[in-house]
Amino acid sequence: MAVVGLVCSDEADRQRLSLLAGEAGHAAHAAGRLTQALELLRELRPRLMVVVDSPDCDAQVLVRELSRAAPLLPIVVLLKTRDAGRAVELMKTGAAEVMPTPWTQDALHACLSKALRQPGTSFSLTRARRRRGPIYALAVLVFFAAAFGRLAWRRRQAQQEAALHQRTYWDLPYRHPAGMAFDGKDFWIADWYSQSLYVHEPSDLAIVRIVHFPDEMPIAVAFAADAVWSVSASGRIVRRMRDAALTPLTAYKDAAPDTLGMAFDGLYLWTCDSRTKMIHKRIIDSDLTIVASYRYPGGTPAALAFDGRDLWSLDSENHELIRLDLEHPSRATARVSLPEYADGRYRAVGLAYADGRFWTLGERLPRDSGPARLFREAAIP
């Protein structure tokens, strides 16, 4: 018999599923919301979680959040409609199994049994005992391998240190940069004075496209959900089509104005507010609802970027990159100094992650005294 957690917003469904799980031989404990589910995880340590997908309880969000809290926990999603596309998306997000309606006893029993018995990667703290055998010749070989290996390792360390100190930069043909993003192919840089987005090819930073906004000053740009997102100086966040004119699709009155940076982690749109020094986590819905806000663990957040695994921020006050804990972004898990901004000639205003490296955007100080500069930062180990 396994302890099974159940997350479902509907009381009647919770009772019914608890009964079915009990009939399948499991002890079910129910929760109505994510916060209750996380509490249930901590207190009861269930072997499996069952999540019911519904309009007021998005299973994709739940799978992601529960997987973050308990990465090895199998999560089964029950659908209220028979939607193969939705099922596959949930499986890609991390659901161990997805079951369609109707939720019969037999189907649920099979699904829970499959999810509990699914073999995954085995983890262990100790290694298997080795077989005893002749080891003396092996020991001699190991000694010489270690000696030469150490020399090779020291040489590699020295080369890495040299690479770490490498810096490269490019001066750009405009003077008022405000933000930047990488769309997987090109850099997009916002210049507030010319009210334009400049698209640069990464190989030589040549400009391949310019998009002008006659009615607004873009100060930040990001890519999320197949759209281009821009923030204007007036405090509007606009979702745009990826066509030649970046046609506006939706304009949001920014619930938290003074947004200077944006980044998309695949599920949430993160924004940073330079005035209140807060990081906001938003769902891409009709209102860009802020689901959580966190105090920034640095000086002044100027930009955000997601490197595929972690959320990073650019601290323009302390001249550093800060890696934020995605569970608790008010906590920094790493800090990387940016010495090119230390002498005060440039103010860090933009951040992007491309091809394994961070790129920062600097505005020349005093303002309007020289071209903007794009820095390619050293690889972070």
Partner: protein
């Protein structure tokens, strides 16, 4: 052969004449000419179906396949071996698998 901890989900489409809902399952094994699929929906021998899935970097949509054999496992799920019937699909899959395996550690 390379086994990965990440399982690949697949959409299963049935012929219109079968009158069945679209289903889904997991690809347990994949080669250029065949696949082993695990699904809660019943998979019948000699049934024709279409498979849609994604390999890293490349989507495969509506690959025609025939169920070579199927059986029910201990959990009540259906395990089936599918044979891809289109030569074009098999070649494309071969190229994608070759690329994927060449990048595997």
């Amino acid at each position: 052969m390379k086994r990965t901890v990440r399982r690949i989900p697949a959409r299963i489409g049935f012929a219109e004449s079968a009158g069945r809902w679209e289903a889904w399952g997991w690809l347990e094994e994949l080669t250029a000419s065949a696949a082993r699929l695990s699904a809660q929906a019943e998979l019948r021998r000699d049934e024709t179906l279409s498979l849609t899935f994604e390999l890293p970097g490349e989507p495969f949509a509506g690959l025609a396949a025939r169920v070579a054999w199927s059986q029910r496992d201990a959990d009540g799920y259906w395990e089936a071996e599918l044979r891809f019937t289109s030569e074009l699909d098999r070649r494309r899959l071969a190229a994608a698998l070759l690329d994927l395996l060449s990048r595997a550690f």
